[in-house]
């Protein structure tokens, strides 16, 4: 399975490493050549040696998307730092290239919800954070720490 990730920030690079570790083919596209270094954080070998692909370019550039392999991608993740960019390129992946699984990271809950209803799979970290904070406050701060397994390690 080829997974194309556009926007290689903290979220994109972490997902990329996890997917590569699970044995998938992973291709990353980012405007900033420096973001390649973020991909290799914690890796024992270079990203390419581990089978990863990295392309420098913008998600709106057709040539860059094609070079990054969008035409044969099975999954597409839009995780740049711009909501509007993510929503536009996710729709391009969905409508023009008919990528089977398309997910867009959208920080604005209202737009995330509306586009979700239009048939675009959106993930809204803001909503997740809001829910966690509300839950934490209601439970009196007892479970405000990280999830269970990391608590054990501490």
């Amino acid at each position: 399975m080829l997974i194309l990730i556009v926007g290689c920030g903290r979220v994109g690079s972490s997902v990329a490493r996890a997917m590569l570790r699970e044995g998938h083919e992973v291709s990353c596209l980012d405007e900033d050549p420096e973001s390649h270094a973020r991909l290799e954080v914690g890796l024992e070998k270079s990203w390419e040696d581990l089978g990863g692909q990295f392309t420098v370019g913008a998600g709106l550039e057709t040539e860059a998307l094609v070079a990054a392999g969008i035409e044969r991608a099975d999954a597409f993740i839009a995780s740049t730092d711009g909501d509007n960019t993510n929503i536009v390129i996710a729709q391009i992946a969905q409508k023009r290239y008919e990528v089977p699984t398309v997910i867009a990271r959208v920080l604005d809950p209202l737009r995330a919800e509306w586009y979700q209803r239009q048939g675009l799979n959106t993930v809204c970290p803001t909503s997740v954070a809001i829910n966690m904070l509300e839950t934490a406050v209601r439970e009196g701060g007892e479970s405000s720490g990280p999830p269970d397994d990391s608590a054990e390690a501490a």
Binding site: L60, E61, T62, G82, V88, I92, K95, L110, R111, W114
Partner: protein
């Protein structure tokens, strides 16, 4: 009409001013605080501060009752999505989007954001018109209707000068509709003989430009290779 204009740059500001002078009701939305304060000195309550890609900002501006939304920010993604949301969520009947980078026009089309206007494309069209060597000039593109009208100047090396219109093998999906000669236009008949310096107007299906260039352009043989 109630018109929402997004982006108070040079284009948006002037547009809002013109529309107000034509007695339209206008809200201009700008998300840069400093720019907003500058424009607000002139346009006062007709300017609103906020990021129009956020739904509540559009709703506060009264998008539910807007007759038209015009997105002219310097950011193509913003313009695309503001118009997409205006049409699909708020059912605004008319939208106009500005294309900053002409290479993004395909994305506007894909998202159904039409019409879109690109200053670069417009200047290129004018350039084509002012510089006849450029060959074929697009006079009108009706994308929805799948038709375009083009103009071409017949140079001294055109293969069709001195020939009868009736003898031309016009490519399928194209029709010669008018000839401009010495500043006057007329509808040609089969017996019209084309001359050097004539400008021909043709209506055609999209994608037929190249066939027409071959027929009417330099070294064209007027019979499509026969």
């Amino acid at each position: 009409m109630y018109i929402i204009v997004v982006g108070a740059g040079k284009v948006g500001w002037n547009l809002a001013r013109e529309l107000l002078e034509k007695n339209h009701e206008v809200t201009l939305i700008e998300n840069n605080r400093r720019r907003y304060l500058t424009v607000e000195q002139e346009l006062e309550h007709n300017v609103s501060y906020g990021d129009a890609s956020e739904l509540w900002v559009l709703e506060r501006a009264g998008i539910q009752r807007a007759d038209m939304v015009i997105a002219v920010t310097g950011d193509d993604e913003d313009n695309m999505l503001i118009c997409q949301v205006a049409r699909e969520k708020y059912l605004v009947e008319r939208i106009i989007a500005r294309v900053n980078n002409p290479r993004n026009r395909q994305h506007f089309d894909l998202l159904g954001v039409k019409p879109s206007v690109s200053a670069t494309d417009l200047i290129l069209r004018l350039l084509e018109h002012e510089v006849p060597e450029y060959g074929l000039v697009h006079l009108l593109d009706l994308q929805e209707e799948q038709l375009e009208i083009i103009e071409m100047l017949l140079g001294s090396d055109s293969g069709v000068t001195g020939r009868r219109v009736g003898d031309l093998q016009m490519p399928e999906g194209s029709l010669l509709i008018s000839v401009l000669r010495s500043g006057k236009g007329f509808v040609p008949t089969a017996d019209t003989v084309l001359e050097e310096g004539d400008e021909i107007l043709a209506v055609l299906d999209p994608g037929k430009e190249d066939d027409l260039k071959i027929l009417f352009g330099p070294k064209g043989n007027g019979s499509n290779g026969a």
